[in-house]
Symmetry: C2
Subunit: 215 residues, 2 copies
Protein backbone atom coordinates (compact mmCIF):
# COMPACT_ATOMS: atom_id res chain seq x y z
CA UNK A 1 0.00 0.00 0.00
CA UNK A 2 1.35 3.44 -0.97
CA UNK A 3 1.62 5.90 1.90
CA UNK A 4 -0.62 8.96 1.61
CA UNK A 5 0.63 12.50 2.19
CA UNK A 6 -1.62 15.43 3.03
CA UNK A 7 0.15 18.55 1.69
CA UNK A 8 -1.03 21.83 3.23
CA UNK A 9 -0.69 24.84 0.91
CA UNK A 10 -1.03 28.50 1.93
CA UNK A 11 -1.70 30.26 -1.39
CA UNK A 12 0.43 30.40 -4.54
CA UNK A 13 3.54 32.59 -4.59
CA UNK A 14 6.45 33.04 -2.20
CA UNK A 15 5.59 36.53 -0.89
CA UNK A 16 1.95 35.99 0.07
CA UNK A 17 1.35 32.23 -0.28
CA UNK A 18 3.01 28.86 -0.65
CA UNK A 19 6.44 28.96 -2.28
CA UNK A 20 5.74 27.46 -5.71
CA UNK A 21 9.03 25.60 -6.20
CA UNK A 22 8.96 24.09 -2.71
CA UNK A 23 5.34 23.00 -3.14
CA UNK A 24 5.82 21.57 -6.65
CA UNK A 25 9.07 19.80 -5.75
CA UNK A 26 7.43 18.31 -2.64
CA UNK A 27 4.70 16.81 -4.84
CA UNK A 28 7.38 15.55 -7.25
CA UNK A 29 9.40 13.96 -4.41
CA UNK A 30 6.27 12.22 -3.07
CA UNK A 31 5.32 10.85 -6.49
CA UNK A 32 8.89 9.79 -7.37
CA UNK A 33 9.15 7.83 -4.13
CA UNK A 34 5.95 5.89 -4.89
CA UNK A 35 3.66 7.62 -2.40
CA UNK A 36 0.36 9.46 -2.99
CA UNK A 37 -0.65 13.01 -2.13
CA UNK A 38 -3.74 15.11 -1.56
CA UNK A 39 -3.44 18.89 -1.32
CA UNK A 40 -5.34 20.87 1.31
CA UNK A 41 -5.61 24.56 2.22
CA UNK A 42 -7.69 26.58 4.65
CA UNK A 43 -10.71 28.33 3.08
CA UNK A 44 -9.75 31.80 4.35
CA UNK A 45 -8.77 35.15 2.85
CA UNK A 46 -5.05 35.75 2.30
CA UNK A 47 -3.53 38.24 4.74
CA UNK A 48 -2.76 40.37 1.68
CA UNK A 49 -1.76 40.16 -2.00
CA UNK A 50 1.81 41.08 -2.98
CA UNK A 51 2.97 42.14 -6.44
CA UNK A 52 5.86 39.67 -6.89
CA UNK A 53 7.85 42.09 -9.07
CA UNK A 54 7.72 45.24 -6.94
CA UNK A 55 7.05 43.73 -3.51
CA UNK A 56 4.17 46.20 -3.06
CA UNK A 57 0.82 45.28 -1.55
CA UNK A 58 -1.97 45.18 -4.15
CA UNK A 59 -5.47 46.50 -3.44
CA UNK A 60 -7.30 43.23 -3.89
CA UNK A 61 -8.24 40.14 -1.90
CA UNK A 62 -7.58 36.51 -2.73
CA UNK A 63 -8.66 33.27 -1.06
CA UNK A 64 -5.99 30.85 0.20
CA UNK A 65 -7.85 27.71 -0.93
CA UNK A 66 -8.69 29.12 -4.38
CA UNK A 67 -5.12 30.32 -5.04
CA UNK A 68 -3.58 27.11 -3.69
CA UNK A 69 -5.67 25.24 -6.27
CA UNK A 70 -3.34 26.72 -8.94
CA UNK A 71 -0.48 24.61 -7.59
CA UNK A 72 -2.77 21.60 -7.10
CA UNK A 73 -4.26 21.86 -10.63
CA UNK A 74 -7.73 22.02 -9.05
CA UNK A 75 -7.35 18.81 -7.03
CA UNK A 76 -7.52 20.31 -3.55
CA UNK A 77 -9.73 20.04 -0.47
CA UNK A 78 -10.54 22.52 2.29
CA UNK A 79 -8.40 21.85 5.35
CA UNK A 80 -11.62 21.45 7.38
CA UNK A 81 -12.04 18.09 5.57
CA UNK A 82 -8.66 16.79 6.77
CA UNK A 83 -8.71 13.82 9.16
CA UNK A 84 -5.42 12.44 10.52
CA UNK A 85 -6.82 8.91 10.38
CA UNK A 86 -7.02 9.12 6.55
CA UNK A 87 -3.36 10.06 5.93
CA UNK A 88 0.07 8.72 6.86
CA UNK A 89 2.08 11.94 6.68
CA UNK A 90 1.37 15.70 6.87
CA UNK A 91 3.65 18.07 4.92
CA UNK A 92 3.95 21.87 4.92
CA UNK A 93 5.92 23.54 2.09
CA UNK A 94 7.18 27.03 2.91
CA UNK A 95 6.65 30.51 1.54
CA UNK A 96 5.42 33.58 3.42
CA UNK A 97 1.91 32.10 3.27
CA UNK A 98 2.91 29.82 6.16
CA UNK A 99 3.85 32.89 8.20
CA UNK A 100 1.07 35.22 6.97
CA UNK A 101 -1.96 32.98 6.24
CA UNK A 102 -1.46 29.76 8.21
CA UNK A 103 -0.19 31.78 11.17
CA UNK A 104 0.60 35.35 12.20
CA UNK A 105 4.32 34.55 12.62
CA UNK A 106 5.44 37.20 10.07
CA UNK A 107 3.71 39.95 12.05
CA UNK A 108 3.77 38.85 15.68
CA UNK A 109 6.90 36.71 15.91
CA UNK A 110 6.99 34.57 19.06
CA UNK A 111 3.55 35.92 20.07
CA UNK A 112 1.96 34.54 16.90
CA UNK A 113 -1.20 32.47 16.70
CA UNK A 114 -1.83 29.60 14.27
CA UNK A 115 -4.95 29.09 12.16
CA UNK A 116 -7.22 26.76 14.20
CA UNK A 117 -7.57 24.20 11.39
CA UNK A 118 -3.80 24.12 10.87
CA UNK A 119 -3.22 23.73 14.60
CA UNK A 120 -5.79 20.92 14.81
CA UNK A 121 -4.23 19.06 11.85
CA UNK A 122 -0.77 19.20 13.47
CA UNK A 123 -1.99 18.11 16.92
CA UNK A 124 -4.14 15.30 15.48
CA UNK A 125 -1.14 13.89 13.59
CA UNK A 126 1.02 13.97 16.72
CA UNK A 127 -1.73 12.24 18.73
CA UNK A 128 -1.87 9.54 16.04
CA UNK A 129 1.96 9.27 16.22
CA UNK A 130 2.16 10.09 12.50
CA UNK A 131 5.06 12.10 11.02
CA UNK A 132 4.99 15.74 9.92
CA UNK A 133 7.36 17.50 7.51
CA UNK A 134 7.94 21.24 7.15
CA UNK A 135 10.12 23.27 4.74
CA UNK A 136 11.60 26.78 4.79
CA UNK A 137 9.76 29.04 7.31
CA UNK A 138 7.06 26.42 8.08
CA UNK A 139 9.25 24.74 10.77
CA UNK A 140 8.96 27.94 12.85
CA UNK A 141 5.16 27.62 12.67
CA UNK A 142 5.50 24.05 13.96
CA UNK A 143 7.37 25.25 17.06
CA UNK A 144 4.45 27.57 17.82
CA UNK A 145 2.14 24.50 18.08
CA UNK A 146 4.52 21.75 19.22
CA UNK A 147 6.13 23.10 22.38
CA UNK A 148 9.84 22.35 22.64
CA UNK A 149 10.13 20.97 19.10
CA UNK A 150 13.59 20.78 17.52
CA UNK A 151 13.71 22.15 13.96
CA UNK A 152 15.91 23.79 11.34
CA UNK A 153 15.18 26.83 9.21
CA UNK A 154 18.82 27.06 8.10
CA UNK A 155 20.86 29.77 9.79
CA UNK A 156 18.83 33.02 9.93
CA UNK A 157 19.54 34.57 13.32
CA UNK A 158 16.31 36.52 13.64
CA UNK A 159 14.09 33.49 12.94
CA UNK A 160 16.23 31.29 15.20
CA UNK A 161 15.65 33.85 17.97
CA UNK A 162 11.90 33.66 17.41
CA UNK A 163 11.96 29.85 17.49
CA UNK A 164 13.88 29.89 20.79
CA UNK A 165 11.50 32.51 22.23
CA UNK A 166 8.65 30.07 21.52
CA UNK A 167 10.52 27.37 23.45
CA UNK A 168 11.83 25.54 20.38
CA UNK A 169 15.31 24.18 19.75
CA UNK A 170 17.13 25.02 16.50
CA UNK A 171 19.85 23.18 14.59
CA UNK A 172 21.86 25.12 12.01
CA UNK A 173 21.73 23.20 8.71
CA UNK A 174 22.95 23.68 5.13
CA UNK A 175 21.27 23.05 1.76
CA UNK A 176 19.34 19.78 1.66
CA UNK A 177 20.17 18.83 5.25
CA UNK A 178 17.37 17.88 7.63
CA UNK A 179 16.61 17.97 11.34
CA UNK A 180 14.60 15.14 12.89
CA UNK A 181 12.63 15.63 16.11
CA UNK A 182 12.10 12.02 17.22
CA UNK A 183 9.50 12.87 19.88
CA UNK A 184 7.13 14.65 17.48
CA UNK A 185 8.27 12.71 14.37
CA UNK A 186 8.90 16.13 12.83
CA UNK A 187 11.31 16.49 9.85
CA UNK A 188 12.44 19.95 8.69
CA UNK A 189 14.82 21.49 6.12
CA UNK A 190 15.81 25.10 5.22
CA UNK A 191 14.95 25.28 1.47
CA UNK A 192 14.64 28.98 0.45
CA UNK A 193 15.39 30.20 4.00
CA UNK A 194 18.92 29.81 2.59
CA UNK A 195 19.96 31.45 -0.68
CA UNK A 196 19.37 28.36 -2.85
CA UNK A 197 19.25 27.08 -6.38
CA UNK A 198 16.11 25.25 -7.47
CA UNK A 199 18.12 21.99 -7.55
CA UNK A 200 18.94 22.48 -3.86
CA UNK A 201 15.21 22.90 -3.15
CA UNK A 202 14.55 19.60 -4.94
CA UNK A 203 17.24 17.93 -2.80
CA UNK A 204 15.76 19.28 0.44
CA UNK A 205 12.24 18.18 -0.48
CA UNK A 206 13.50 14.71 -1.49
CA UNK A 207 15.42 14.25 1.75
CA UNK A 208 12.44 15.30 3.89
CA UNK A 209 10.00 13.06 1.98
CA UNK A 210 12.39 10.08 2.08
CA UNK A 211 12.92 10.47 5.84
CA UNK A 212 9.18 10.90 6.51
CA UNK A 213 8.52 7.63 4.64
CA UNK A 214 11.04 5.84 6.87
CA UNK A 215 9.71 7.15 10.22
Amino acid sequence: MSKKFAVVLSGSGVYDGAEIHEATLSLLAIDKQGAKYQCFAPDIEQHHVINHITGDEMSETRNVLVESARIARGNIKPLSDFKAVDYDILLFPGGFGAAKNLSSLAFKGADCSVDPEVEKAIIDMVEHKKPIGALCIAPAVMTCVLKGAMVTIGSDDSTIGTIKAMGGTHQIKAHGEITIDEKYKLVTTPCYMLDSTISQIAEGAENVVETLLEL
Copy 2:
Protein backbone atom coordinates in the same frame (compact mmCIF):
# COMPACT_ATOMS: atom_id res chain seq x y z
CA MET B 1 30.37 28.73 -20.40
CA SER B 2 26.91 27.69 -19.24
CA LYS B 3 24.20 27.99 -21.86
CA LYS B 4 21.46 30.51 -21.09
CA PHE B 5 17.76 29.73 -21.45
CA ALA B 6 15.08 32.38 -21.80
CA VAL B 7 11.89 30.85 -20.35
CA VAL B 8 8.65 32.53 -21.45
CA LEU B 9 5.83 32.32 -18.90
CA SER B 10 2.17 33.15 -19.53
CA GLY B 11 0.79 33.71 -16.02
CA SER B 12 0.66 31.33 -13.06
CA GLY B 13 -1.86 28.50 -13.07
CA VAL B 14 -2.89 25.90 -15.63
CA TYR B 15 -6.35 27.26 -16.54
CA ASP B 16 -5.43 30.91 -17.24
CA GLY B 17 -1.64 31.02 -17.18
CA ALA B 18 1.55 28.97 -17.28
CA GLU B 19 1.16 25.42 -15.93
CA ILE B 20 3.03 25.63 -12.62
CA HIS B 21 4.51 22.12 -12.58
CA GLU B 22 5.72 22.35 -16.19
CA ALA B 23 7.27 25.77 -15.56
CA THR B 24 8.92 24.80 -12.25
CA LEU B 25 10.19 21.48 -13.58
CA SER B 26 11.60 23.21 -16.67
CA LEU B 27 13.61 25.53 -14.41
CA LEU B 28 14.74 22.51 -12.36
CA ALA B 29 15.82 20.62 -15.49
CA ILE B 30 17.82 23.63 -16.73
CA ASP B 31 19.57 24.10 -13.38
CA LYS B 32 20.27 20.37 -12.90
CA GLN B 33 21.90 20.20 -16.33
CA GLY B 34 24.25 23.06 -15.49
CA ALA B 35 22.62 25.76 -17.61
CA LYS B 36 21.23 29.17 -16.56
CA TYR B 37 17.78 30.65 -16.99
CA GLN B 38 16.05 34.01 -17.11
CA CYS B 39 12.24 34.16 -17.02
CA PHE B 40 10.29 36.50 -19.27
CA ALA B 41 6.60 37.27 -19.81
CA PRO B 42 4.64 39.78 -21.86
CA ASP B 43 3.42 42.82 -19.88
CA ILE B 44 -0.24 42.39 -20.89
CA GLU B 45 -3.54 41.66 -19.17
CA GLN B 46 -4.54 38.00 -18.88
CA HIS B 47 -7.40 37.01 -21.18
CA HIS B 48 -9.36 36.19 -18.01
CA VAL B 49 -8.95 34.82 -14.48
CA ILE B 50 -10.21 31.32 -13.70
CA ASN B 51 -11.10 29.95 -10.26
CA HIS B 52 -8.97 26.79 -10.30
CA ILE B 53 -11.41 24.87 -8.07
CA THR B 54 -14.70 25.58 -9.87
CA GLY B 55 -13.41 26.38 -13.36
CA ASP B 56 -15.55 29.54 -13.34
CA GLU B 57 -14.36 32.90 -14.63
CA MET B 58 -13.70 35.41 -11.84
CA SER B 59 -14.64 39.09 -12.14
CA GLU B 60 -11.14 40.49 -11.83
CA THR B 61 -8.14 41.24 -14.02
CA ARG B 62 -4.55 40.11 -13.59
CA ASN B 63 -1.36 40.98 -15.48
CA VAL B 64 0.59 38.17 -17.18
CA LEU B 65 4.02 39.55 -16.19
CA VAL B 66 3.02 40.21 -12.57
CA GLU B 67 1.45 36.77 -12.10
CA SER B 68 4.34 35.00 -13.88
CA ALA B 69 6.65 36.61 -11.30
CA ARG B 70 5.13 34.24 -8.72
CA ILE B 71 6.75 31.29 -10.50
CA ALA B 72 9.98 33.25 -11.08
CA ARG B 73 10.19 34.44 -7.43
CA GLY B 74 10.32 38.02 -8.69
CA ASN B 75 13.28 37.47 -11.04
CA ILE B 76 11.51 38.14 -14.33
CA LYS B 77 11.80 40.59 -17.23
CA PRO B 78 9.21 41.93 -19.67
CA LEU B 79 9.35 40.02 -22.94
CA SER B 80 9.96 43.35 -24.72
CA ASP B 81 13.49 43.22 -23.21
CA PHE B 82 14.27 39.84 -24.80
CA LYS B 83 17.02 39.78 -27.46
CA ALA B 84 17.85 36.51 -29.21
CA VAL B 85 21.53 37.49 -29.27
CA ASP B 86 21.67 37.33 -25.45
CA TYR B 87 20.34 33.76 -25.06
CA ASP B 88 21.18 30.31 -26.39
CA ILE B 89 17.77 28.67 -26.07
CA LEU B 90 14.12 29.81 -25.85
CA LEU B 91 11.67 27.64 -23.87
CA PHE B 92 7.87 27.77 -23.56
CA PRO B 93 6.23 25.74 -20.76
CA GLY B 94 2.54 24.97 -21.34
CA GLY B 95 -0.72 25.77 -19.59
CA PHE B 96 -3.77 27.51 -21.06
CA GLY B 97 -1.87 30.78 -20.76
CA ALA B 98 0.02 29.81 -23.92
CA ALA B 99 -3.30 29.42 -25.74
CA LYS B 100 -5.15 32.33 -24.07
CA ASN B 101 -2.52 35.00 -23.30
CA LEU B 102 0.45 34.32 -25.61
CA SER B 103 -1.96 33.57 -28.46
CA SER B 104 -5.68 33.29 -29.20
CA LEU B 105 -5.38 29.56 -30.00
CA ALA B 106 -7.92 28.53 -27.32
CA PHE B 107 -10.59 30.72 -28.87
CA LYS B 108 -9.83 30.88 -32.59
CA GLY B 109 -8.10 27.56 -33.27
CA ALA B 110 -6.25 27.54 -36.60
CA ASP B 111 -7.27 31.18 -37.20
CA CYS B 112 -5.44 32.31 -34.06
CA SER B 113 -2.99 35.16 -33.80
CA VAL B 114 0.12 35.23 -31.61
CA ASP B 115 1.19 38.07 -29.30
CA PRO B 116 3.60 40.24 -31.36
CA GLU B 117 6.42 40.04 -28.78
CA VAL B 118 6.07 36.25 -28.58
CA GLU B 119 6.08 35.99 -32.38
CA LYS B 120 9.15 38.23 -32.63
CA ALA B 121 11.05 36.20 -30.00
CA ILE B 122 10.35 32.95 -31.87
CA ILE B 123 11.29 34.34 -35.29
CA ASP B 124 14.45 36.02 -33.96
CA MET B 125 15.64 32.72 -32.47
CA VAL B 126 15.03 30.89 -35.76
CA GLU B 127 16.90 33.61 -37.67
CA HIS B 128 19.84 33.18 -35.26
CA LYS B 129 19.60 29.37 -35.78
CA LYS B 130 19.08 28.92 -32.03
CA PRO B 131 16.88 26.14 -30.61
CA ILE B 132 13.37 26.52 -29.17
CA GLY B 133 11.56 24.14 -26.82
CA ALA B 134 7.81 23.96 -26.15
CA LEU B 135 5.76 21.82 -23.75
CA CYS B 136 2.10 20.74 -23.60
CA ILE B 137 -0.12 23.05 -25.72
CA ALA B 138 2.72 25.50 -26.51
CA PRO B 139 3.89 23.41 -29.53
CA ALA B 140 0.60 24.26 -31.25
CA VAL B 141 1.38 27.96 -30.78
CA MET B 142 4.77 27.34 -32.44
CA THR B 143 3.07 25.92 -35.56
CA CYS B 144 1.09 29.14 -35.83
CA VAL B 145 4.36 31.10 -36.20
CA LEU B 146 6.71 28.52 -37.78
CA LYS B 147 4.93 27.38 -40.92
CA GLY B 148 5.18 23.66 -41.55
CA ALA B 149 6.81 22.88 -38.22
CA MET B 150 6.70 19.30 -36.94
CA VAL B 151 5.63 18.99 -33.30
CA THR B 152 3.97 16.76 -30.73
CA ILE B 153 1.23 17.63 -28.27
CA GLY B 154 0.67 13.95 -27.46
CA SER B 155 -2.42 12.40 -29.04
CA ASP B 156 -5.38 14.79 -28.68
CA ASP B 157 -7.31 14.56 -31.98
CA SER B 158 -8.85 18.02 -31.84
CA THR B 159 -5.53 19.80 -31.25
CA ILE B 160 -3.81 17.65 -33.88
CA GLY B 161 -6.51 18.78 -36.32
CA THR B 162 -5.82 22.42 -35.47
CA ILE B 163 -2.06 21.93 -35.93
CA LYS B 164 -2.62 20.35 -39.36
CA ALA B 165 -5.05 23.13 -40.34
CA MET B 166 -2.21 25.61 -39.63
CA GLY B 167 0.07 23.63 -41.95
CA GLY B 168 1.98 21.84 -39.20
CA THR B 169 2.94 18.18 -38.97
CA HIS B 170 2.17 16.17 -35.85
CA GLN B 171 3.82 13.09 -34.34
CA ILE B 172 1.87 11.08 -31.77
CA LYS B 173 4.06 10.67 -28.67
CA ALA B 174 3.75 9.21 -25.18
CA HIS B 175 4.88 10.48 -21.75
CA GLY B 176 8.34 12.00 -21.79
CA GLU B 177 8.88 11.41 -25.51
CA ILE B 178 9.95 14.28 -27.74
CA THR B 179 9.64 15.40 -31.34
CA ILE B 180 12.56 17.22 -32.98
CA ASP B 181 12.02 19.54 -35.95
CA GLU B 182 15.56 19.76 -37.36
CA LYS B 183 14.80 22.67 -39.70
CA TYR B 184 13.56 24.99 -36.96
CA LYS B 185 15.60 23.34 -34.15
CA LEU B 186 12.27 22.96 -32.34
CA VAL B 187 11.88 20.35 -29.57
CA THR B 188 8.42 19.49 -28.19
CA THR B 189 6.83 17.09 -25.68
CA PRO B 190 3.22 16.42 -24.54
CA CYS B 191 3.45 16.94 -20.73
CA TYR B 192 -0.07 17.58 -19.34
CA MET B 193 -1.68 17.31 -22.80
CA LEU B 194 -1.58 13.65 -21.74
CA ASP B 195 -3.07 12.50 -18.43
CA SER B 196 0.25 12.52 -16.53
CA THR B 197 1.83 12.15 -13.12
CA ILE B 198 4.09 14.95 -11.96
CA SER B 199 7.10 12.59 -12.36
CA GLN B 200 6.19 12.19 -16.04
CA ILE B 201 6.18 15.99 -16.39
CA ALA B 202 9.67 16.10 -14.87
CA GLU B 203 10.81 13.45 -17.36
CA GLY B 204 9.38 15.37 -20.34
CA ALA B 205 10.97 18.64 -19.24
CA GLU B 206 14.33 16.91 -18.67
CA ASN B 207 14.29 15.27 -22.08
CA VAL B 208 13.42 18.53 -23.85
CA VAL B 209 16.09 20.51 -21.98
CA GLU B 210 18.74 17.82 -22.56
CA THR B 211 17.97 17.71 -26.30
CA LEU B 212 17.96 21.50 -26.60
CA LEU B 213 21.41 21.62 -24.99
CA GLU B 214 22.69 19.13 -27.60
CA LEU B 215 21.28 20.92 -30.67
